[in-house]
Amino acid sequence: MFKTVYNWIDERLDITPMWRDVADHEVPEHVNPAHHFSAFVYCFGGLTFFITVIQILSGMFLTMYYVPDIINAYASVDYLQHKVAFGGIVRGMHHWGASLVIVMMFLHTLRVFFTGSYKAPREMNWVVGMLIFFIMLGLGFTGYLLPWDNKAYYATKVGIQIAESVPYLGPYIQELLQGGEVVGAQTLTRFFAIHVFFLPGALLAMLGAHFLMIRRQGISGPL
C-alpha cells in the first residue's frame, strides 16, 4: 500500500534522487566520532540544528498561550509557567535552549574556524554561517523582552539606547525597534513580530542555504 503510493508519487515527481542524495552520501571516517573520538567537534553543527529545532517547536507551543501586549504579556507568561500542564517545561526548554543554542553555535563556529574549513571553496558557507550567527543574536535580543518583566524591560531599554548611539543610523534603528517615544506597547508588538516571524523566516532561509552548500560541497577533508 505504502509502496504503491510512493511509486505513484515518484512516477510523477521523481522524488527518489532527492532523498537518496541525503540518505546515501557517505560520512567520511575523519568526522565520525565512532572512529576518532576527537571528531566529536564535528557534531556541534548537528547539535546546533537539534537545539534550533527544539527552539522552533517549543516556541510554537509558547505562542499558543503568549499574548503580545503590555497588559497581558506578563500575565500570560505567568499563567503558562504556573498553571498550564507542562507549561513550565515548555517555557524552560525555550529559555535554556536559547542559551544552549548560542553555546553550540559558538563551539561549531570555533571548530570551523580552527579546522580552517572556511577556506576555499567554502567561503560562502562561512559568510552564510555568520549571518545565521547574527540572526541568532537578534532572536536572543528580541526574545528577552517578551516576558515583560523588569529584567526584560530594562535590558531592552539599554540595548536600544546603545543602538541609538550609532552615528547617523542610530535614531532610525531606535525608531524601527522601539516604534514610539519610549519602550512600550509598540516595542513589545514589534519585538514579538520580529522574534516570531521575521527572524525565524530569515533563519530558515539561511539554514536551507547552509545545508544545501554542505551537501553540494561535502564536509571539508581531513587535516
Binding site: G46, I70, Y74, I102, K151
Partner: protein
C-alpha cells in the same frame, strides 16, 4: 591531504569538495577521495547521531525541570532603581561600552569601531585569510587573533558579571526572579496561595470624595499618587491609607516626608509647603480612607 588523490582521478573536483569542476547534474558521488571507514549517512550514521541526540535531550530536560525559567516582577517603567542586565552572551559588549574611551564622546568606537572591526573580520575571514593551509597551528596570525578575542570576551563577560553581583550586594538587592520564587515558596509552606502579581489588588473606594481637603490633595499629591488615588509604580495608593495609619501618623509622613515622599511641612525644605492647618485637613481626610467604612 586530498591533493595527492587528485592527479589519479579522472573527474576533477573543486578543492576537496564533491563538486566537480564544470557542469554536473546533482548525482551523489561517493567519497573515494577519502578512503577509510566511511559509512552511509542513513541509516548507519544518523542512528548513532540520534543516540547522541537522546543523551543531550535527557540532560537538557533534567536541566529544565530542575531549573525553572526565571520570571521577575511585571515591567514597571517608573522603577528607577532596577539594575539592567542583558542576557549573558551580550555581556562582553555591554562591558566594553563601559570603558571611558569607548563611551560618552568616544561611543562610536565602542558601538561600531571595535565590534565592527571584530565582527567584520570574522564575517570576511575567508577573504582575509586566503592561504591554503588549514591547520590552526600553521596559521599563527588567524589563530592567535581568534584566541586573543576569545580571551577578551571571556574576560569582559566575567568583569561585567562581577560588576553586577557587586552592585547587587552594594544596594542589598535580591534579583527579582529569585525573590519572587522565594516568596512563592514561603507562601506554599504556609499553605497559602502563590502571590499573584498580575492582578491589581482591589482598592477600597474613595470615602467622602467631595471634602474640601481633596482640592489640596488633587493639586499637590495626585501627580505622584495617581489621579484616582490608586498609586503608581512604587508609590503607594492613598485609597485605604486609613487602614494602615492613624491621622497623627499620616500628618507625620506628610510633614516630614519619608523615602521618596517629599516633606510638605513648613520649613522642612520641601518645594511645596503646606500650613499646619492644611496638613491637618489632609490627614483628617486621609485617615477616613478605610475599606471598612464602605
Amino acid at each position: 591531504m586530498s591533493e595527492s588523490y587528485k592527479a589519479k582521478e579522472r573527474v576533477v573536483y573543486v578543492g576537496d569538495s564533491r563538486v566537480r569542476k564544470g557542469n554536473m547534474p546533482n548525482v551523489p558521488a561517493d567519497y573515494t577521495s577519502y578512503p577509510g571507514k566511511s559509512e552511509a549517512f542513513i541509516p548507519n550514521f544518523l542512528l548513532k547521531e540520534w543516540m547522541v541526540g537522546c543523551v543531550v535531550l535527557v540532560g537538557f530536560l533534567v536541566l529544565t525541570i530542575t531549573h525553572p525559567a526565571p520570571l521577575g516582577y511585571p515591567a514597571d517603567p517608573t522603577n528607577g532603581a532596577f539594575i539592567p542586565m542583558p542576557d549573558w552572551y551580550f555581556l562582553f559588549i555591554y562591558q566594553l561600552l563601559k570603558y571611558p574611551y569607548l563611551s560618552e564622546n568616544y561611543v562610536v568606537l565602542g558601538t561600531i569601531g571595535i565590534p565592527g572591526i571584530a565582527f567584520g573580520a570574522l564575517l570576511l575571514a575567508p577573504f582575509l585569510d586566503t592561504g591554503k593551509e588549514r591547520r590552526f597551528y600553521r596559521r599563527p596570525i588567524a589563530s592567535s587573533l581568534m584566541i586573543l578575542s576569545l580571551i577578551a570576551c571571556v574576560y569582559l563577560t566575567k568583569v561585567s558579571w562581577d560588576h553586577y553581583t557587586h552592585e547587587l550586594e552594594k544596594t542589598n538587592t535580591i534579583p527579582e526572579h529569585i525573590e519572587r520564587e522565594e516568596k512563592a515558596r514561603e507562601a506554599a509552606m504556609a499553605g497559602q496561595e502563590r502571590p499573584n502579581y498580575t492582578k491589581q489588588p482591589e482598592l477600597p473606594a474613595v470615602v467622602d470624595a467631595g471634602d474640601p481637603a481633596t482640592s489640596i490633595i488633587q493639586a499637590q499629591c495626585l501627580s505622584c499618587h495617581g489621579t484616582e488615588y490608586e498609586g503608581r509604580g512604587n508609590i503607594p495608593p492613598l485609597r485605604g491609607v486609613g487602614d494602615k495609619y492613624s491621622k497623627e501618623e499620616i500628618a507625620e509622613i506628610v510633614t516630614n516626608g519619608r523615602g521618596g515622599m517629599p516633606a510638605f511641612g513648613e520649613g522642612k525644605g520641601g518645594n511645596v509647603e503646606l500650613s499646619a492647618e492644611e496638613i491637618d485637613q489632609v490627614s483628617t481626610w486621609l485617615a477616613k480612607q478605610k475599606a471598612a467604612a464602605e
